[in-house]
Amino acid sequence: MNARGDSREDSSLVRDVPAATVAAHELKAPLALIRQLGYELGREDATYAERRELTEQIIRVSEKALRVTSNITRADTLSRTLFELEPVNSIDVARDACRELKPLYELHSRRLTIGRMQKLPPVIANRDLLRRILVNFADNALHYSGAEGVVELQAQLSRSQDVVRLAVRDYGPAMTKRQWSRLVESLHGRQPVHARPQSSGLGIYISDQFAKNMNASIGAIRHRDGASFYVELPVSRQLTLL
């Protein structure tokens, strides 16, 4: 990625670090976890209930890893394939993202909820890319759901009524000022992309690529009790029954 973070030709996500290295880093954690779960599953004294639970965990962690690979390949083909931008009901997409991640959240005894959403006009977007952005944000927020275990998907219309903001609000431990500065600089393209400490930032980088291809943008807000990662999309002026 170049300094502005908008080149699809440059393959490195973090300066001087090849994309393949970042992707490998991102896949390390789920693969290492699947391996450990496999050893647990293979224990001779594991009960039937434990085996069922471990199998479910292996499936969900594998799905998470597969989402990473699917996003990487999707991002790679963005410049070569045509994709449709159309009026999209953003709340429907938020619900889809919520449904997709529900099993993973339940596995971690967490809840991903749809927050208060006013009636919104349709946005100009690609449904698949928008869903992937929200899933990326919510996937990352899983570890930041705070004591209540809740992460919320929120939507709002800008005052000027021309932009819809879809946000994933978490309530986890606050980032330090330094971490936050790095993240904000990343989002503004002045620095290599970094997310939170345990992340390579690949999810945010890919979300940024998806957003740019829809003429949308991503951003983040730091709260006293967590953070919101959001995507802003232009409102469709086309009359629709969505």
Binding site: A32, G172, P197
Partner: protein, 123 residues
């Protein structure tokens, strides 16, 4: 027989669950802290013989926690075992001054390696 107390600081609950089960099966009293932010309280309450610490934690890094532990006189001497996916990038020599006795590579370790590492750290 109680082998001693171990606090596991790990932000992935599934992995933490495995570590806790392995430790408990082997007679250790195991406690879990999900974030570095809550770790000091858990460690303070449990007064463990060993801390098993992930490096890349949600919210803050293990290094910050290690600094903080060193600043508490009663916690500074607790031996640390790092369990990390970044083991190939961390040298024991660089972290020994923080009380780190062993580094476990999560990508290659076997479940029983936790016990070997904890035992060795307690020596």
């Amino acid at each position: 027989m109680n082998q001693g107390r171990v606090v596991v600081v790990e932000d992935d609950e599934l992995l933490a669950g495995i570590f806790l089960r392995v430790l408990r099966r082997n007679g250790y009293e195991a406690y879990h802290a999900l974030h570095a932010a809550s770790a000091i309280d858990v460690i303070d309450d449990a007064q463990p013989a060993v801390i098993l610490l992930d490096v890349l934690l949600a919210g803050t890094t293990a290094l910050t926690l290690l600094h903080e532990l060193r600043s508490h006189a009663d916690l500074a001497e607790i031996p640390i075992v790092l369990a990390t996916n970044l083991a190939d990038q961390i040298s024991l020599d660089d972290v020994q001054s923080y009380g780190v006795k062993r580094i476990l590579d999560k990508t290659t370790m076997y479940p029983d390696d936790i016990i070997t590492a904890v035992r060795s750290a307690m020596l």
